[in-house]
Every structure is written in C-alpha cells, then in structure tokens.
Amino acid sequence: MSATTSSASSIPGPAKDLRVSRALGKRRHRINFVVKTLCVLATMLGMVLLGSILLTLIWRGAAGLSLTVFTNVTKPPGSGGGLLNAIVGTLIQTVIGTAIGTPIGLLVGTYLAEYGHSSPLANAVRFVSDVLLSAPSILIGLFVYQFAVEPFGGFSGAAGCIALAIIVIPIVVRTTEDMLRLITPSLREAAIGLGAPKWKVIVLICYRAAMDGIVTGVLLAIARIAGETAPLLFTSLGNLNWSVSLGQPMASLPVAIYQYAGSAFDDWVQLAWVGALLITFGVLAINIAARLLLRRGK
C-alpha cells in the first residue's frame, strides 16, 4: 500500500520539482480561470441579448395591446386600425404552406431513409435539401415571383403559400429522415414477418413510431414560416384591406410589421410593435411546444 503511494514520485516530469510544478500549475490554473470567466461572460451576454429583445417587445408592444388590434383591419394612420387582416393572412398562409410542404417533405424524408439510403440519387437529394434548408429565403421569394406571380399577372396569397411551402419541405425532410432512422429494426422485422407490404410497414408502423419526431419537425417548420418576411415581399405582397382570397395580395404579420415599423406615424409604429410581440411569442411558444413534445418522445 505504501509502495503504491510513494511510487508517485517516480513519475517523470515537472512534478519532481515542486517549485516548478507549483508555478506551472498556477499559470495553468490562471489561464483556465480566465477562459472559464470569458465563457461565462459570453453566455451571460447571450442571455442578456435574448432578455433585451423579449423585454423590448413586451415593453413597447404591451402598451398598444388592445381588443381593437384583433377586431379591426389596418386603417389609415390616426383612425385606430388593427391587425386583423394581417393575423388572418398569416394564419391562412402558414396553414396552407404547411399543408402543401409537409406531405412532400414527409415523402422525401421517407425516400431518403427507407428507399434511397446512400444511393447517388439519395445523396444528391439530401445535399440539395440541406442547401435549400439554409438558402437565403429572399431568393425563394424571387424564384416564386418568377414562376407564380409574373406569369399570372399579379401578387397573390397563393404565391405566398407556395414560397412558404418551399421553406417547409427541407425542414420536414431533415426531421423525418432522422426520426425514421432511429426506429429499431426489430419493429420493422416484426411487421414484415407478419406479411405486411413495405408501404404498410412504413405508413402504419414507422410513421406511428416516429410520430412525435415528425410532428416536432412540422411545428418547427410552422414556427419558421410564420415569422418569414423576405419570401412574402414579392409573392403575397401585403394588403391593407380585408382579403381572404388566395388570388389577391394577402396581408401577413411580418410584412405588416415591416411596412409599419418604417413609417413616420406613431400609431403605425405602435402597431408594428404589437405585431412583433404577437409573432415572436407565437413563434417561441410553438418552439417550446415542439421541444416538449420531442422530450416526451425520448
């Protein structure tokens, strides 16, 4: 026993000279302390920024929060307008965009995880989907303008929905593929062993097993497109009047915020803050819901 403890002194290195090792140790620990402190400060800065954004929104937005915001449509400055058309427009475009994008994304994710695996085509699709995921959203707006606005002679809510759907696809693809790959082979084998065809195994067994993850992906996609502004500028354009027609320009919260925040009228700027408050807390709530769901699944 005593032999093992005393043998520590036979370890080669600076530990032999106590003074050197103490000095070295001090230096090392000082550097360690400095770096640690800087990291804590960086994290605190991040938290302060998030806090600053949320508090600014609450402070500026809550002042203008009233029932008329939800009951009135946008009106000329000074006449007590609301955001009803923008809220409804955002809801319509988000729902339709998600409804178009989700099935496509789901199928692509299924293809990648169940059929393509690592074939050249699947690798290409995976790569393209990843690029689409991070591609500047304003370019998607320009693209949709080229084929869904210009040829049809005008901005429309439908074009906005298409632009948002294109953003939804890669998000759903990513989560679907990841989730389908997590399913244990034994589950599949059991279903195949019972004689189920592959598509039934996928639709009835795998989708169900991966449901929480897939829904998380869809929720994250909704949160993303609900706050998107750039792709809507050239597609659904925004509309100061009440309109739920997909053939007409359609209002949306982010675009209304963009138009109002830059205006010279105090009540419009105030409305922009209210809109910002609504959209941010809506988006963050969906995000938190998605995370809770994923945690429940784990």
């Binding site: 994290t43 990648l112 790569f127 750039a230 963050l284």
Partner: protein, 320 residues
C-alpha cells in the same frame, strides 16, 4: 388438385397484384426528384432572369460600383462588398462568442443550468429576423449613434488605418451596426452546432485527459478542439451562409446607400437588402428587375459554395 391450383392461383395473384409497394416507392422517389428539380429551377430562374443584365453589362457587372436607376446603369460591386463585409465582420465577432457559449454549455454549466440555457440559445435562433431588424433599429442604432460610435471615433483618432475604419458621422446605421445585428443572429446557430459537435467527443478521451491532471481549458484545447476541428469549421461556415443571405434585419440597420467607403460606420447595402428595397420599384421586364435577379443569382452562387463546404465538413460528425 383443382383446389390446390385455385389456391396457387389466388396466392399467386395476391403476391403479383400488390400495387401499394411500387406506387409508394415511386411516389417517394418522385418527391425526391421533385426537390432536386426545385433547386435546379430556382437556380435556373434566377440565372435566366438575370441574363439581360449580364448581357447588357458584361462581366463588369460584378465589379462596377455604380447603381444608378435614373441612368439605368447597374453594378453589383457595392452590394457584393457590403454582403461579404458584413458577413465577415459578424463572423469575427460571432465565432469567439459562440465558442464561449458552446464551451460553457458542454463543460462548465452545472447540470441544472444546461437545459434552460441551451433552450434559451435555441429560442434566440428561432426569433424571426424581422424582430432582430426592429430591435436593432429602435434599440441598437440609438445606442450606437449616441455612445458606441463617438467613443470609437475618438478612441482611434490619430491611429493609422483604424482612424479610417472608424470615421464619419455617427448615424448609428451602417455596415458596422449591420454586422453587430448579424452577429447576434448567427451566434445561436453557431453555438448550437458547436455544442452538438463537442458532445460527439467520446467521454473516455476527456476523462483520460482529466485523469492526467489537465484543466478544463486544456481538455478543451488539446482534446475536444482537435477532435472536432473540421466540424467546428463546418458550423462556422453554416453561420457564415446565414449571415450572407440575411435580409430583413440588415435592411433595417445598414442605411441603404450605393456607395463604398473605407469607414465601417458609413451606410451601404447588401445583395439581399437591395433586392428587398428596390424590388417594389422594378417593373416586370425592366433592366433593373433583371439586375436584381442577377444579384440574386450571384448571392445564390456565393451561399451555395459556402453551404456546400459547410455540409461536407459537418456531415460526417453529426450524421450517422
């Protein structure tokens, strides 16, 4: 005999006639091809739309710094400069910050803080970009014009090079402020990726280093950092790609002018911001619209390259 034949026939027909499988396979394959075509047509439509501008201005379009809607002379120089400048500046600021946060989240944070701080970082990434724009315009810009910019101008007065970088009237808007807002936007992205990458380091490696008496920072520097180097660079490139294409936040704070100036406090524009601002005043079929589409094509090419590099570096670590 007959019975057996009937059974055979029925089972044979059953195994033959199962349209579900091929249909579903074809459908999912078709959706995959659809995504390929989608990106292909996106590139093609931007390129085709930009052809008149490319043809009219030639290769000089890329370098010309003139943007004159009245005389119909358009060049991409100012916007490309603004795009790259703001994105690079924001990376210089964002990378150390993101690294600090990721290091804190993986090694330093007490267990009970890890989750809430991690979620807060992810929420910061989820805030819509237009909100960053408003926050920047109403909160950061006044701070910049009243305190930060005058201080920096005084501080570097007389210092060569820096004197020119931090010069001019402190309006609060400009390249520098845009880079700051971009920093706040990309830090959570990079930090989240770095954290995920850091967590792929096998615990045994770290434990053995700790066992040898390494400090936390030494474990980070000599074990985690070398192990994750390529993926960390991939994560940084991902953030860079985001910064290049960011539209709304930049449009609010960059000041929007078509000039290049040595000073970081001067206003400028980026490809995304000029497209967002000038598009409403560009009638269909005009040379201006074509120039904007050409700018879009250039932006796509730049971010495509950055994203492709990022993905090549990241994929092996984060994906099985």
């Amino acid at each position: 005999m007959q019975q057996a034949a009937a059974l055979n026939a029925s089972s044979g027909s059953r195994s033959k006639f199962r349209p579900g499988d091929p249909i579903f396979a074809a459908l999912s394959r078709a959706s995959g091809i659809f995504v390929l075509l989608l990106l292909g047509s996106l590139i093609l439509s931007l390129f085709v739309g930009g052809i008149p501008a490319f043809r009219h201005f030639g290769l000089g379009f890329l370098f010309s710094t003139t943007w004159d809607p009245v005389k119909e002379i358009f060049g991409a120089g100012v916007s490309i400069y603004g795009t790259v400048m703001t994105a690079v500046l924001s990376m210089i600021l964002a990378v150390p910050l993101a690294f600090g946060i990721a290091f804190y989240l993986t090694e330093l944070a007490p267990a009970w803080l890890k989750r809430p701080v991690g979620i807060a970082v992810e929420l910061l990434a989820a805030v819509p970009s237009i909100i960053y724009g408003m926050w920047g315009f109403f909160v950061i810009v006044p701070l910049m014009s009243q305190y930060v910019e005058p201080t920096l101008i005084d501080l570097f007065d007389g210092v060569p090079v820096l004197e020119d970088l931090f010069a001019g009237p402190p309006f609060g808007t400009g390249i520098f402020t845009a880079a700051l807002i971009l920093t706040v936007m990309v830090v959570p992205f990079i930090a989240a990726t770095m954290r995920d990458v850091f967590e792929t380091v096998p615990p045994v490696f770290k434990e053995s280093a700790y066992g040898l008496g390494c400090t936390t920072w030494e474990v980070m520097r000599s074990i985690v950092a070398p192990y994750t180097r390529t993926s960390v660079i991939g994560g940084i490139m991902l953030g860079f790609g985001r910064a290049l294409g960011e539209t709304m936040a930049v449009t609010f704070v960059i000041g929007n002018s078509a000039h290049i100036s040595a000073s970081l406090f001067s206003s400028g524009n980026t490809i995304a911001s000029i497209v967002a601002l000038e598009f409403p005043e560009s009638p269909a079929g005009s040379l201006k619209l074509s120039s904007l589409l050409a700018l879009g094509f250039i932006l796509f090419v730049i971010s495509f390259i950055v994203l492709a590099i990022s993905r090549t570096l990241l994929r092996p670590k984060l994906k099985v």
